[in-house]
Amino acid sequence: MSTVFNLPVYGAGILLAAAAALTLYGQPDLDQKWGFMAAEYGARLENREVYVDPGELLQRMNDDYIELIIFDLREERDWNIFHLVDSERVSINDLPAQRDRLRNLSELSVVVLVSNDEILSTRAWKHMMALAKPNVYILEGGINHWLNVYGVKHEEQDDHAAASLDRPDGSLRHPFKYALGARHAAAQPDEHHVPQREYTEKVRLLKKIARAGGCG
């Protein structure tokens, strides 16, 4: 029998075939990866364990013990009109660029995702879990709800007050007179001068599991 048909040749052939098939099959994108993870983490969304009340977010904004990171996922237009103090505007498509940062967050770090309602932030939550599993939450009802709670009537057109949160479509439902960004009074209300809200605390600090390994 020809020496070509020996074990190393078969082995190399199998490895090459498996690699070629892998090239065709591809690696999962964030949505596909979330599909794999949904059975394990989806209940947190269904049980609304990660949706934080505006009252809790305000409390956390004034909590010096934790390192709060607020990612505002909205379009630049809405961001310019209004955004929370110290929030960072990050497009959902740019989240992968935050991977190393998210992976290296301390145990005291808490990330809160903000969009106009909960549509974009919920999708971003899934992406962030697929990326790095940080300690991440979603602002309940989004900016529309926040402004319903802490908004200032006379800053809005026609003294607009509460906006309907029904049938969310991703849009900002408060019509502002001016684009004030974080200079708006509701961007960081004084927690001692706003109505106190009753809510169930959702934010928990997580103990990080050390990743280790290697070979000398």
Partner: protein, 198 residues
Amino acid sequence: MAPYDLAGTLGVTGSYLVYLGIGFGFGFILESSGFGDGRKLAGQFYFSDLSVLKVIFTAIVVAMLLIFWSTALGLLDYDDILVNETWLWPGIVGGLIMGVGFVVGGYCPGTSLVSVATLKIDGMFYVLGLFVGVLAFNETIEHLDAFWRSSYLGRFTLPELFELETGVVVFLLICLAIVMFIGFGWIQQLIYGKKDPE
């Protein structure tokens, strides 16, 4: 989805037993492959014995295929396993130092421990030197801190470097391994007039 939190699932004792089992298997394979012998290990650098190169590189490409197929099928979260972060220039300098140590001493740190397990005297001295080196490094690194922390690239891997799909990189690395095995075999034949038994 792997990797699993063994300590959370099996408890600390249970997880340590798993680590013990993996360590036993790892050590058994290394010793039975001849990786506890410094002459055999160093032989790869002189093309006199390529078995270490073949075993290691085969292990690398097989593990690589298993990792990325597992990731593709949703069995493993690749983002959740440790990939050493890259500090480019410190890594290059460290690699050179370790490479010279490997050629001269005949061991890498892991295989030196395997050699100690079989009571090899050269391995014991190597491990002693290893501990002294670790101690010296920790006592002096503050003077080299700027260099040690320089050229940081984070979790930087070949698909990002070459801007290629992971599967393509895996395929190319397997091709590289095959070409290397064949090429080094020819060099061995040229120098010593013989090849390793396959």
